[in-house]
């Protein structure tokens, strides 16, 4: 059917509706739906034709005459996609607004149909005046649709909108008439042939008028009021459909204007993107926030329109990906907002009882943030590479900054949804559910389509076809099953995948694969202790593991980045599950996304120097040369170090790891942190030493790592919360590992691997035992515990073994790490950072002793006298870890020997010698088996002696101690635990001032304050908004002249 029928059906049905009897409301509604369905069907039919055959666009002539003497419409693949998007949005919104439409009657329905028709008209028409007419139709239709709302304030919002629209149409008309005067045609293609230079001012007026319809920052107060107050069904159209149509109109105008107008579009777009996202930060009203977000997203796409000179063939892929992701997600969120009774963001907590709706929300937020596997992700990747290839790093930086702001408020919102309380009930009727889930399905389908496109166009990877991700997503389908069943499936899947792929890893990656898959499976044993269905846990956990395993299996930059984002998102959902973890999960995701953006920028920059873009083999990083290479190094290294929590970007870790659930903490600490280390391994393997401004970057890394180790350890000793103590300890341990890597010699890397293995085992074990204790006692404050050794002996043993291993005391495996460390630094020529690391070493004893003493030793409290040992499934993995630790302590060669050989290709010198049980280096030697035997023999003999001479020792009661000739009776006053290292704080407390926290706090504070000040310009007065608009036009023109 000809595309003209889209217009015809729209107009015709509006007429029919107008002629209906006032009481035939249901009939009217049926006609409305039918009309919109037909319009969608026509668009869909054309989309299929164009997509399948790749045919050229078809021109449709009217009035029996060729242009320029008559209006012509054009239907091509883009037009059909956009009209489909618009009319489907209209249809779904009509379904969504069913009650309101039927209540208001046929006129409202006619207005809706006209609005959709006009939006399609904007897309289809090739005539500039016709464009104006459709714009005016939309203004009038919008004016009508706004009144559908129950919100009284919508009336004033509509009036403000009309005021500004009047100004816009004056500018547009004047522009059109002078453009016509200059070119003698109203046909867009005709004007484009002549170029806009002859009528620059007239073009400017048209252009700025159309751009103004995109609600550019800061001239957009009127639009926000509409977003906030009108019916969410209409806001969905206003955001998704109107935005789409106007963007396409801008694209048409750019056809006339040519390349010299691209900077204007880019400039307005990027200011809008960053500005609107900034202003969205302090918003508390959900729909207004979505309005800001809509404006920001349109700004981003406008920026892309302005960058089309460098995007070439990828222009549509990028702009389309961003546009569809935005439209689908935003429409979905507006429809969803109707289910929430109150308008505060926190009221969305009402949704959390409905997993399907939460899933819908997650889908939409992920789409908006450009997370894999949605279209925005592929588009973001391509865009970053195109920008970097042309050296537009400033633009890339602004885009990424804006995206981070957006992620900030969206994920904060998601945090509210999951963690806040709401006593409102969510009632979800079928008519409200259909549009929302249609959008969800559309989102996933589009993700698949963009994945396929990325394969055929760029040779990237369709993430939705990768086995680990599919495995993770399949848990969404079995969410109804009990937790133990899902746990079994998860463990089985991970082990099976390891067995399947075992042979594919080189020795280095094998270590990581074992930790991620087998280690992950062992940790999951603890999850058997959970009851019920545990909705949301398994998809998140498996997403994280899928990301991690994809990370080590991929060889190209795209796969690496995609895996990185997946594991970040998965772990975020996991961390968010903790009781008090809302702010910490937010800070985790923000630091992680910030780091991911740096990685993206790094890869994009690297790809600009080592073709082939848009994805290159990671090994090609080695081919980079100055001046690009050091910058790539810095971007990637800082990105990876946000995951290893290097000092300065560490502030997310303590809260995130401490507040996570008992079985999640070992995953995110013992396993997840290794992803960052793996990234650094990959980076250093390929790039090695780099210099920037004469600074050896690996030396800078050494300093950062040493300070991380020192300050992480120092902060750990002052914690009262057991899990926080362990979390800070992780920061310190990661400092050691990064230090080893940055040493850039054979043993340094071996030491880093030693820490990778060790830290996984003992930190997972310690988190489980402390978590088990916290579970039983109901507190994580260690000073409230004490004397639990007899009640929880197995947890005590695990902790004891754990702290001996962490401290590096022989005979356990921590010593191996220290021994390799000393041998590694013997060959290094940088000495000062080592001094810091020396200082950090003994400090570990302080927090380790505190951990075990204040929990298990000392005085047992009355309220805990009946505490039982931790649940079996939490103890079992601990015992496995104890065994692993012992084996690794005695036979480190099992894991290290092959890697030692493997590292020879990077550092041929300085490897270890493995003769029998003895391990030798160029400087010293070490025999773990002998050490273990000797110590055990000495210990055993002395113990036997003591048991012989002291065989009649009598066990006494708790308070039977020499206490200044008194018997204490209150355990609380006798258990010395709170502020345990007071003297240490007096001496060195100044080192642990929370400077990093203050720094980041100040930055977010400034952003919020700035946004709050900017908000004051949005006075709510329609005249002020009109004034804003005129000012915007004048400033834009002034800047334009200045070009």
């Amino acid at each position: 059917m000809s595309a003209l029928y889209i217009i015809a059906v729209g107009l015709g049905s509006a007429f029919v509706l107008g002629m209906l009897n006032e009481r035939q409301k249901n009939l009217g509604y049926v006609i409305t739906l039918a009309a919109l369905t037909v319009m969608s069907a026509i668009s869909a039919q054309w989309l299929i034709i164009f997509a399948a055959t790749g045919a050229h666009p078809i021109d449709i002539f009217t009035a029996g005459t060729q242009p320029p003497f008559a209006i012509n419409l054009r239907m091509g693949v883009i037009e059909s996609a956009l009209t489909l998007l618009i009319s489907l949005t209209g249809l779904l919104s009509a379904i969504h607004m069913g009650n309101a439409l039927v209540a208001r009657g046929r006129r409202a329905m006619a207005v809706l149909v006209i609005a959709i028709m006009a939006l399609c008209g904007i897309v289809l028409t090739r005539d500039i005046f016709n464009l104006f007419v459709f714009f005016e139709l939309i203004v009038i239709a919008t004016g009508g649709m706004v009144l559908l709302s129950d919100d009284e304030r919508a009336v004033s919002a509509g009036f403000k909108y009309l005021i500004v629209s009047q100004f816009i149409s004056v500018l547009l008309l004047i522009g059109i008439i002078f453009a016509y005067h200059a070119t003698g045609t109203l046909n867009i293609d005709g004007m484009a042939e002549q170029g806009a230079s002859a009528f620059a001012l007239a073009f400017f007026l048209m252009f700025i008028a159309v751009i103004a319809e995109l609600k550019p920052f800061p001239a957009n107060g009127w639009a926000l009021d509409i977003y906030e107050s009108s019916h969410p069904g209409f806001s969905a159209i206003f955001s998704a459909a109107t935005g789409t149509a106007v963007l396409f109109a801008v694209d048409k105008l750019l056809l006339i204007g040519g390349a010299e107008w691209f900077p204007v579009a880019s400039g307005v777009g990027i200011v809008t993107f960053v500005g609107a996202n900034l202003l969205a930060l302090p918003q508390t009203n959900d729909r207004r926030l979505l309005g800001y977000s809509s404006i920001a997203q349109t700004g981003l796409i406008l920026t892309v329109l302005g960058q089309q000179d460098i995007l070439g063939q990828n222009y549509l892929f990028i702009a389309g990906g961003l546009l569809l992701a935005h439209a689908v997600a935003k429409a979905g969120l507006y429809w969803l907002s109707d289910l929430v009774a109150s308008r505060q963001l926190t009221a969305w907590a009402a949704l959390k009882e409905r997993p399907l709706l939460v899933f819908a929300f997650v889908t939409f937020v992920a789409m908006l943030c450009g997370l894999p596997p949605f279209p925005g992700f592929y588009a973001k990747w391509e865009l970053a590479h195109a920008l970097a290839a042309e050296g537009r790093m400033a633009m890339l930086a602004l885009i990424l900054f804006g995206a981070l702001l957006e992620a900030g408020y969206l994920f904060r919102w998601f945090g509210y949804l999951i963690k806040r309380e709401s006593d409102e009930k969510v009632v979800c009727s079928a008519t409200q559910a259909i549009p929302v889930f249609a959008a969800v399905i559309a989102g996933w389908v589009l993700g698949f389509v963009w994945g396929e496109l990325s394969v055929t166009r760029f040779g990237l990877n369709n993430l939705l076809l990768t086995l680990p991700l599919l495995f993770a997503l399949s848990f969404l389908l079995i969410e109804w099953a009990p937790a133990w069943l899902k746990n079994t499936v998860a463990i089985g899947g991970m082990v099976a995948f390891f067995v399947m792929t075992y042979a594919e890893y080189d020795p280095l990656r094998l270590i990581f694969a074992v930790i991620f898959l087998i280690g992950g499976a062992i940790t999951l044993l603890a999850s058997y202790s959970a009851h019920g269905r545990r909705v949301g846990f398994y998809p998140a956990a498996m997403l994280m593991y899928a990301g991690m395993i994809m990370l080590i299996r991929t060889t190209d930059s795209f796969g690496f980045f995609a895996a990185w984002e997946l594991l970040t998102v998965g772990s975020y959902f996991l961390i968010l599950r903790g009781k008090e973890s809302e702010p910490h999960a937010l800070s985790y995701i923000l630091f992680s996304l910030g780091g991911a953006f740096l990685i993206l920028a790094g890869f994009a920059l690297a790809a600009s120097a080592v073709p082939p873009a848009p994805t290159f083999s990671l090994a090609n990083l080695a081919a980079l040369t100055a001046p690009v290479a050091p910058w790539v190094f810095v971007l990637l290294a800082v990105g990876f170090m946000t995951k290893t929590a290097a000092i300065g970007v560490h502030i997310w870790l303590p809260g995130a790891h401490a507040e996570a659930e008992t079985d999640v903490s070992p995953m995110v600490s013992g396993i997840l942190l290794k992803a960052g280390l793996y990234g650094l391994f990959v980076l250093l393997m390929a790039m090695g030493k780099q210099q920037l401004f004469g600074i050896e970057l690996t030396h800078a890394l050494l300093w950062i790592a040493a300070l991380t180790a020192l300050l992480g350890n120092l902060m750990a000793i002052f914690q009262e919360d057991g899990k926080r103590l362990l979390a800070y300890s992780s920061i310190g341990q990661m400092g050691y590992a990064v230090f080893g890597l940055a040493l850039m010699n054979h043993l340094g890397w071996l030491m880093a691997l030693m820490f990778v293995i060790n830290h996984y085992i003992y930190k997972a074990m310690l988190f489980l035992s402390v978590g088990g204790v916290a579970k039983r006692t109901g507190t994580r404050d260690m000073y409230k515990m004490g004397g639990l050794i007899t009640l929880m002996p197995l947890s005590f043993i695990a902790t004891l073994i754990g702290i001996i291993a962490v401290s590096g005391v022989p005979p356990l495996s921590g010593f191996g790490g220290r021994w390799i460390f000393y041998n590694a630094i013997m060959t290094s020529d940088v000495r000062m950072p080592m001094v810091i690391l020396f200082l950090a070493g003994p400090i570990a004893f302080l927090y380790l002793f505190r951990l075990i003493y204040t929990i298990f030793l000392g005085q047992l409290k009355d309220e805990f006298r009946r505490v039982k040992e931790a649940p079996f499934w939490i103890v079992l993995p601990q015992m496995i870890y104890v065994a692993l630790l012992m084996i690794f302590a005695v036979f480190p060669g099992i894991a290290l020997r092959r890697v030692d050989e493997y590292l020879n290709q990077f550092f041929p010198e300085g490897g270890l010698g493995w003769s029998g049980n003895e391990i030798t280096s160029a400087y010293g030697y070490w025999n773990p088996v002998s050490i273990m035997i000797i110590i055990c023999v000495i210990f055993g003999v002395l113990l036997a002696w003591l048991m012989f001479v002291d065989r009649k020792a009598q066990k006494v009661k708790q308070f039977n101690i020499v206490f200044s000739a008194e018997a204490p009776y209150r355990p609380e006053t006798t258990h010395f635990a709170w502020n345990f290292f007071a003297p240490y704080r007096k001496a060195l407390g100044f080192l642990v001032l929370p400077l990093a926290t203050m720094f980041w706090g100040t930055i977010t504070g400034l952003l919020h304050t700035g946004a709050d000040i900017a908000r004051r310009f949005y006075t709510g007065n329609g005249q002020t908004y009109a004034f804003h608009f005129l000012l915007f036009v004048i400033v834009a023109y002034a800047i334009r002249i200045g070009f």
Binding site: F129, I140, V155, F159, I163, I174, R1015, G1020
Partner: protein, 118 residues
């Protein structure tokens, strides 16, 4: 003539814009917008005008054959017609809005309608 008409048109636009930005009264703002609209229409007409030609009506006086050389450009006039119609529509809508607003708050001052902001 054409220049005079165009100058008048722009003057009307400016008057209208000034009026819309300075008058607090909703009705006065609407009037200001109609003045601006008129100005725009005048400008369009002035742009299409050609000295010494006749109206673009093909009848006995002007035959279809020599219309190209004898009539003024008909397109702007057609545009004006459309613009007027649209202008009327928008004005009517604004008046309807004003009525609703007045019903609600008994005020015609735009400053009273700032419930939504920030």
């Amino acid at each position: 003539m054409a220049h005079l008409a165009m100058a008048t048109g722009f003057l009307l636009i400016l008057i209208g814009a000034w009026g819309a930005l300075t008058n607090r009264n909703l009705l006065r703002m609407i009037v200001a917008f109609t003045i601006a609209d008129t100005g725009v229409n005048l400008v369009i007409i002035a742009v299409g005008y050609m000295r010494g030609r006749t109206a673009p009506i093909i009848d006995g006086a002007v035959s279809a054959a020599d219309a190209v050389t004898r009539i003024i450009d008909p397109v702007p006039q057609a545009l004006v017609l459309t613009a007027i119609v649209i202008g009327v529509g928008v004005t009517a809508l604004m008046l309807a809005y004003t009525y609703r607003l007045f019903e609600k708050k008994r005020s015609l001052d735009i400053r009273d309608y700032t419930d939504l902001k920030g």
